[in-house]
C-alpha cells in the first residue's frame, strides 16, 4: 500500500472555488436573467463546464444543447429546434450517469415546457417577449414601490426630513417599516453582486428616527366626497392617508380599542414600540382622517349604512381570527391562540407566565413573537414546536436566532397529536409525534411524514397555537362580496367586478401577508377609489434629489443591526433593536450603488416621479 496524504488545495483550486462562490452569490443575490431562453442557455454552459466528460449525454449532449440555444438566440432557430431541445434534454435527464448531467437536462426540459411561448417568439420574431422589469431592483421589489435609492441618497446627505417625505410619497409608515418591514427590497439589491445587500431597512429606521416629527403635506382642495374605511390597520390607514391628501373626507372604523391592526395586536412592543406606532398614526390623523374606535361593522353600524352615507368604502379588516390544530385536548385551559395572546398584550394586559412551561406550536414569525413574548412574560421555559426542520421555518432566520438567544428551545420534527390535561382540566402535556423529512413537494419544500418512533410528551402549562390566522369574512360574504376560502376575493385593483363603490385590500383579501403588502394595497385602493370618483389626483416628487455619487464602491461589509444583549432584553418589552450609529449609517448609505442613475435606471424606470 502506498502512503496516504492530506491533500492541500492548489492555488488554482482556491481561485476556482472563489469564482464559483462568486457565481453562487451573483445568482442568489441579484436578479435572475431576463429571458428564460438566454438564462437556460447560460445554465447549460455552466453545467457543461462541470462535466467530467465520461458519459455521452453530458459531454456531447450538453454541448449540442448549447449550440441549439445559440442558434435560437441568434435568430437562426427553427420550429424543429424546440422539439430537438425537448428530445435531447429528456434523454440527458434520464441517461446521464450522474447528477451533473441529469439536473442540467431537467432544467432545459422544464424551461422548454414552461416557456414555450418565449422559444417560439425567438424563432418567429427573432426576439423574446422578456424585458427589463427591474431597472431599480430594490424599488421594483418593494410592493409599495418606495424610492429607495432616493431616500438613501437623502439620508447620506443628512436630509432626514426629506427622506421621510420621499418615503411617505409611497408609504405613510416610514418609522414602522424602518423597524419591522420584511424588506423584500434587499433580496434584489445589486450590491449583493459586490458583497452583500445594503441594509435598507436599517437606513430607513435611522432616517425616520433622525427626522423626528415630519408633518404630512397639505391636503388637496376639498372634494366634498366621503369615503369610509373599515379597519385601522396598515392597509386601511394607508388608504385613508392618501384619500385625505387627495381632498376627500375619510372616516375609519376600527373594531378594537386602539388603531394599528396587526401592527399593534400582532407585533409585540419589543419589535415595534407602542409610542412609535402611535406617533406615526398621529401623522396620518393630522391629515384630517377621522377615527371611530370600538366600532364593529354589523353590530354598531352596518355595511349598508356605510355604503349609503359614503361615496366609496374600503374594506381592510385584516386576518385576526385564529386557526385551530384540531387535536384532542385543544379546548383545555392553558391552550390559547397566538392571536388571542398578542391581542391581549396589545390592549395592555400582559399575563404573568412566571413559573410556566410554555409550548408554542408553529414556525412562522407569529410563533416567534409568541415565544419571545412568553420569555418576557416570565415563563420558566419556552419551546417552539415545529413539525419540519428549523431551516424550513417560514419565520425570518434572525427571528428564530433571536428567540434561541433569549432561551427558547426549538423542538423541530415534532407534530402535535393531543393535549393532555391534569385532573383540574388544565393543560399539562403537549403530546407530539416525531416526524421524518421526506421528498420535496410541489412548493419546493420537503414534506414530512410520521416517523417510526413513539410519541413524546412535552411538559406544557401554556400551549400557544400559532399556525396561521383566519379572516372574519362571513358577514361580507353575506353582503354579496365574493369569498375564496375565507379571503374576500377582491381583484388586483382592490375592487370587485360588478360591484360599484366597494374596495378591499390587505390581509383580508390576500390572506395573512406582510405589512408592506398591506400598505401597497392601501395605496392601490386609494388611487382606484379616486379614479372611481372621477378624479385624477397625483402624488408628485417635489424634492430636489442629490446628484449621484461618483465615488468608487469597493467591497465592504454590510452593517448589521445590533440588538440589546439577550440576557437584558428578555426581561422587558422595550425595543430590542438598536439604531445604526451616525458612522454606521453614513457607511451603509455609501454602499448603495445608485441603480436609479447607473445602469438601466438612467434610461428608464429610475424614478417614479408621480403616481
Amino acid at each position: 500500500m502506498g502512503k496516504l496524504s492530506l491533500t492541500a488545495k492548489s492555488g488554482n483550486t482556491l481561485e476556482l472555488e472563489k469564482m464559483a462562490s462568486f457565481l453562487t452569490s451573483r445568482l442568489s443575490n441579484a436578479q435572475q436573467g431576463l429571458c428564460p431562453v438566454d438564462t437556460v442557455a447560460a445554465f447549460v454552459n455552466v453545467c457543461l463546464s462541470q462535466s467530467c466528460g465520461k458519459c455521452t449525454p453530458c459531454r456531447v449532449g450538453l454541448k449540442k444543447l448549447g449550440e441549439i440555444y445559440d442558434r435560437i438566440l441568434d435568430g437562426d432557430g427553427s420550429a424543429e429546434d424546440i422539439a430537438l431541445i425537448e428530445r435531447t434534454a429528456r434523454v440527458i435527464a434520464v441517461s446521464a450517469d450522474c447528477a451533473i448531467g441529469h439536473t442540467a437536462g431537467e432544467v432545459a426540459l422544464k424551461s422548454v415546457l414552461a416557456f414555450r411561448d418565449d422559444y417560439e417568439s425567438h424563432i418567429n420574431c427573432n426576439h423574446c417577449s422578456a424585458r427589463e422589469e427591474q431597472p431599480v431592483p430594490c424599488s421594483s421589489l418593494c410592493p409599495a414601490q418606495v424610492d429607495i435609492p432616493g431616500y438613501v441618497a437623502l439620508t447620506a446627505q443628512g436630509r432626514y426630513a426629506d427622506a421621510v417625505r420621499l418615503i411617505r410619497k409611497d408609504n405613510p409608515f416610514p418609522s414602522v417599516c424602518g423597524l419591522i418591514c420584511e424588506h423584500p427590497c434587499e433580496n434584489g439589491c445589486r450590491r449583493g453582486m459586490v458583497d452583500d445587500a445594503v441594509n435598507i431597512r436599517g437606513i430607513k429606521r435611522y432616517a425616520a428616527e433622525k427626522a423626528g416629527h415630519v408633518p404630512p403635506p397639505e391636503c388637496a382642495e376639498k372634494t366634498g366626497r366621503h369615503i369610509s374605511v373599515i379597519g385601522a390597520g396598515p392597509s386601511g390607514l394607508t388608504a385613508a392617508y392618501y384619500l385625505a391628501l387627495m381632498g376627500h373626507d375619510v372616516d375609519v372604523y376600527e373594531k378594537r380599542k386602539f388603531p394599528g391592526g396587526m401592527l399593534r395586536y400582532g407585533i409585540p412592543d419589543y419589535r415595534l414600540p407602542e409610542q412609535i406606532l402611535t406617533d406615526e398614526i398621529n401623522v396620518i390623523l393630522e391629515t384630517g382622517v377621522k377615527l371611530h374606535l370600538d366600532t364593529d361593522i354589523g353590530t354598531d353600524i352596518t355595511l349598508d349604512e356605510l355604503r349609503n352615507n359614503s361615496d366609496a368604502v374600503y374594506i381592510a379588516i385584516g386576518a385576526h381570527s385564529d386557526k385551530k390544530l384540531r387535536i384532542p385536548g385543544e379546548e383545555l385551559e392553558g391552550v390559547t391562540s397566538a392571536v388571542d395572546l398578542l391581542r391581549r398584550i396589545g390592549d395592555g394586559d400582559r399575563p404573568d407566565f412566571s413559573g410556566k412551561k410554555v409550548a408554542v406550536v408553529g414556525g412562522g414569525n407569529v410563533a416567534m413573537d409568541c415565544a419571545r413574548s412568553s420569555v418576557r412574560l416570565g415563563a420558566e421555559s419556552v419551546s417552539i414546536v415545529y413539525r419540519r426542520r428549523q431551516e424550513d421555518m417560514t419565520a425570518l432566520a434572525e427571528e428564530v436566532e433571536g428567540a434561541i438567544a433569549e432561551g427558547c428551545e426549538v423542538v423541530s420534527m415534532m407534530a402535535p397529536v393531543s393535549v393532555e390535561g391534569d385532573e383540574s382540566g388544565k393543560a399539562k402535556y403537549l403530546v407530539v409525534k416525531p416526524q421524518i423529512i421526506g421528498p420535496i413537494g410541489r412548493d419546493g419544500r420537503p414534506g414530512v411524514r410520521p416517523a417510526d418512533q413513539p410519541e413524546v410528551k412535552l411538559e406544557a402549562d401554556i400551549i400557544i397555537v400559532a399556525i396561521g390566522q383566519a379572516i372574519e369574512s362571513e358577514k361580507f360574504g353575506e353582503h354579496g362580496l365574493p369569498l375564496k376560502w375565507d379571503t374576500i376575493a377582491a381583484t388586483d385593483e382592490c375592487d370587485f367586478e360588478g360591484i360599484d363603490g366597494i374596495f378591499c385590500g390587505g390581509d383580508c383579501a390576500t390572506g395573512p401577508a406582510t405589512v408592506i403588502k398591506a400598505i401597497a394595497a392601501g395605496k392601490v385602493g386609494a388611487r382606484n377609489i379616486d379614479t372611481y370618483l372621477g378624479y385624477n389626483h397625483e402624488f408628485a416628487l417635489d424634492i430636489e434629489m442629490p446628484a449621484p455619487s461618483l465615488l468608487d464602491k469597493p467591497a465592504c461589509g454590510r452593517v448589521k443591526m445590533k440588538e440589546r444583549a439577550a440576557n437584558e432584553r428578555k426581561h422587558d418589552f422595550a425595543l430590542m433593536e438598536q439604531c445604526m450609529t451616525d458612522e454606521e449609517a453614513s457607511q451603509e448609505c455609501s454602499r448603495c450603488l445608485g441603480c436609479d442613475h447607473f445602469g438601466y435606471g438612467k434610461f428608464r424606470g429610475g424614478r417614479y416621479f408621480r403616481w
Binding site: 436573467g33 429571458c35 420574431c125 427573432n126 426576439h127 424585458r131 427589463e132 449621484p548 465615488l551
Partner: protein, 575 residues
C-alpha cells in the same frame, strides 16, 4: 459653482453640470456617440468615458455631474484604451459596409472610428440581420443599429408616440416596434425625427432617386418638379454650400441640369392653400354655430396621420384643404397639363420635400384628381442632394435660374409655410384681406413665430371679430394642446400644427447635422426670404389669381373642391 480640474486646467461649472458640458465650456472635447443633449444622457455607448484621478472606475462624462475638487482626465491611457475597446465592440455588431450606407460620409460612428485611428478590429464583426419591408417610406436596418436609444427617446419625449422600444435582452438587445407590432400597424406619423436623430444609418427613408432617374431618362415622360418652402433653407447643408448661396434659384438651375422639363415652386400652391384654407376659415367663422372649433391646419401629413390615429374624434376639425404638395400635384396634372396640351399620364410629377411623411401622403389612394397620382414621387432634401451629386452637378458653380411659369410664382407668405407658425401667419394675412378688403401690415401677425413653450397663442382683431389662434410644433406639444382643447381648458378658432419641432425647417427629411437642432436657424432664413419678397400676401400671387380666373373660378368653388380639397376619412393611416 463647483471647482474641478480637467486635464490639469482649472474649471468652474454650475452644480449639476455634466463633466462633458463642463469640459466643452473649457474648450476640451470629449468624444460622444449616443449622447444627445437633454434628450439622451444615459451613458450607454461608453465612448465619453473619463477618468477621475484616484478612482478606479471610469465614468460616462455625459451623465456624471461635476464634483468639487475632482481631477478629471479625458485623455489618459486608461481612457483611450477603454474608449478604443468599446468602439471596437460597437463596430463588431455593426454592419460596416459603409460604401453602400445612406449615411456614408455623414455618420457619427464612421467619424469616431476615423478619429480614433482604428485600422483593424480585434473582434469578429457579426452584425444582426436586417428584417424590414423596404417598400415602406421609413426603413430600419437592424444590422446598423448601435442601440444608442436616441430613436426611442425622440419618439417618446418629443413626439409622444412611443413607436420604438427596447426588444430582447442581454447581447440580443435591440430596438423594435413597441408592443411587437408590425411597423405598418403602429401609430407612426412618419415624421422622420428618429431618422434625423440617428447617429448612424440604422434609420433612413426609402430611396426614391432611382424612380426619379428612370423618369428623367424616359423620353415619353414630361418631368416636372416642385420645391417645398423649407428645402431652400437647408439643401445647401448637404452639399457644403452656405445658406445664402444655396438659394432656391440655384437649386432650380441644378434640377434643370439634372433633366427636369419644368421646375416649379411649391410656394405657388402654398399661396393656393391659403386662398382655400383662409376662405374655409372665414366661411366657418361667419357660420360659427354650424362648425366645430378650432379649425386645424391640414398641410402637414405627419400631423394628419397623428390626429387620425391618436385623436380620431377630432379629425372633422381639420381643414379639408389638401396640402400644398397635393394641391400642386392636382393642378399640375389638370390645369397645367391642359395648358401644355398633354395627357396627365405623360406627366411625371416629383416633389422635393423636407419631409418623410410626404412620401406616404402622395400614395394616399384618394389623391388622384386627374385620375393619375397627383404627385408621383417625393424626394427628401437629403435625396435631392444625392440626386444632384449623382448627376455630377457642381451646384455651387451654377448661376441662379428662375422657375418656370406659371406654377413658379410664390409670395413671402408662402415661404414661411416652412417655419412653425408660418401657415397661420400667412392665413391671417389673407383672411384679414378677405374680411376687410384691405391688407394688414405684413408683419402684423408675427406674435405666433418662435419655438418657445408647448404652444403659442395670440388673439387678433379682424374687423371687429376677435380671432383666437394657437400654434404648436412637435407632436408631443400637439398632444398637450389637443388634450387641453379636449378638456376645455383652452379654446381657439384656428390652430396650426406641424409634426416636426420647429416645423418643416426641422423636418425629418432635412439634411442631418448630428447633435445640432437647426430648425431655428432655417426658420429664421425663411422669415428673411419672406421679408425680401416683393409680394407678401398669398392673395396677391398673380399666377394664383390667374388660375382662379382661368380655371377654378373662386376659392371653395365646385372645381376647387374637386381638385384642392380632400376627405380625411376616406383612407386609413394604420394598416
Amino acid at each position: 459653482m463647483v471647482n474641478l480640474k480637467i486635464n490639469g486646467i482649472d474649471v468652474s461649472a454650475k452644480e449639476g453640470t455634466s463633466i462633458l458640458e463642463a469640459a466643452k465650456a473649457a474648450g476640451i472635447n470629449i468624444p460622444t456617440l449616443c449622447y444627445l443633449k437633454d434628450l439622451n444622457e444615459i451613458g450607454a455607448c461608453r465612448i465619453c468615458l473619463v477618468e477621475i484621478e484616484g478612482r478606479d472606475k471610469l465614468f460616462a462624462a455625459c451623465n456624471c455631474p461635476v464634483e468639487e475638487g475632482i481631477s478629471v482626465l479625458t485623455d489618459s491611457a486608461k481612457v483611450r484604451q477603454a474608449r478604443r475597446v468599446n468602439l471596437e465592440l460597437i463596430l463588431s455588431q455593426h454592419n460596416t459596409e459603409c460604401t453602400t450606407c445612406s449615411r456614408n460620409g455623414n455618420c457619427k460612428l464612421q467619424s469616431l472610428a476615423e478619429e480614433s485611428g482604428i485600422n483593424i478590429n480585434s473582434y469578429s464583426v457579426t452584425p444582426p440581420k436586417m428584417n424590414w419591408n423596404t417598400d415602406f417610406p421609413l426603413i430600419r436596418d437592424n444590422s446598423k443599429c448601435i442601440k444608442c436609444m436616441r430613436c426611442i427617446q425622440i419618439c417618446d419625449k418629443v413626439q409622444s408616440l412611443n413607436i420604438w422600444d427596447v426588444e430582447g435582452t442581454g447581447s440580443h438587445t435591440t430596438i423594435g416596434v413597441a408592443g411587437g407590432l408590425p411597423f405598418e400597424s403602429a401609430h407612426c406619423s412618419l415624421c422622420g425625427q428618429c431618422i434625423t436623430h440617428c447617429p448612424v444609418g440604422a434609420l433612413y427613408e426609402r430611396d426614391d432617386t432611382a424612380k426619379v432617374n428612370a423618369a428623367l431618362d424616359d423620353p415619353e415622360k414630361i418631368t416636372l418638379v416642385q420645391i417645398a418652402p423649407a428645402v431652400r433653407a437647408a439643401w445647401g447643408e448637404a452639399l457644403g454650400i452656405d445658406r445664402e448661396k444655396a438659394s432656391v434659384n440655384r437649386l432650380a438651375a441644378a434640377l434643370r441640369k439634372a433633366g427636369f422639363n419644368y421646375v416649379f415652386d411649391t410656394n405657388f400652391s402654398a399661396d393656393l392653400t391659403i386662398m382655400e384654407e383662409g376662405s374655409e376659415f372665414i366661411e366657418k367663422l361667419t357660420h360659427k354655430d354650424e362648425h366645430k372649433f378650432p379649425m386645424f391646419t391640414s398641410c402637414c401629413p405627419g400631423w394628419v396621420r397623428f390626429i387620425k390615429s391618436e385623436y380620431p374624434d377630432m379629425v372633422d376639425m381639420l381643414s379639408t384643404a389638401k396640402s400644398p404638395q397635393q394641391m400642386f400635384g392636382a393642378v399640375a396634372k389638370t390645369y397645367f397639363a391642359e395648358k401644355i396640351g398633354v395627357s396627365p399620364d405623360k406627366i411625371y410629377s416629383v416633389s422635393i420635400m423636407p419631409c418623410t411623411s410626404k412620401k406616404s401622403e402622395c400614395d394616399i389612394e384618394t389623391m388622384k384628381s386627374s385620375g393619375e397620382k397627383d404627385v408621383d414621387v417625393v424626394l427628401t432634401t437629403r435625396e435631392v442632394a444625392k440626386l444632384i451629386k449623382m448627376h455630377g452637378i457642381d451646384a455651387a458653380s451654377l448661376d441662379e435660374e428662375e422657375f418656370d411659369s406659371p406654377l413658379g410664382d410664390g409670395s413671402g407668405a408662402a415661404v414661411i409655410f416652412g417655419a412653425t407658425g408660418g401657415v397661420m401667419e400667412a392665413a391671417l394675412r389673407s383672411a384679414y384681406f378677405l374680411v376687410t378688403g384691405k391688407n394688414p401690415e405684413a408683419d402684423a401677425f408675427k406674435a405666433v413665430r418662435g419655438l418657445n413653450g408647448p404652444w403659442r397663442e395670440a388673439t387678433f382683431a379682424i374687423d371687429s371679430v376677435e380671432v383666437r389662434v394657437a400654434v404648436a410644433s412637435g407632436l408631443g406639444n400637439a398632444r398637450k394642446l389637443l388634450d387641453a382643447i379636449r378638456a376645455g381648458k383652452v379654446s381657439y378658432d384656428f390652430v396650426e400644427i406641424m409634426a416636426c419641432p420647429g416645423g418643416c425647417g426641422g423636418g425629418g427629411g432635412q439634411p442631418i447635422c448630428d447633435g445640432f437642432e437647426l430648425a431655428g436657424e432655417r426658420d429664421e432664413h425663411l422669415y428673411k426670404l419672406d421679408a425680401d419678397n416683393p409680394i407678401r400676401f398669398s392673395h396677391e400671387n398673380p399666377s394664383v389669381l390667374k388660375l382662379y380666373e382661368e380655371y377654378l373660378e373662386k376659392p371653395l368653388s365646385h372645381k376647387s373642391h374637386e381638385l384642392l380639397h380632400t376627405d380625411h376619412f376616406a383612407w386609413s393611416a394604420i394598416k
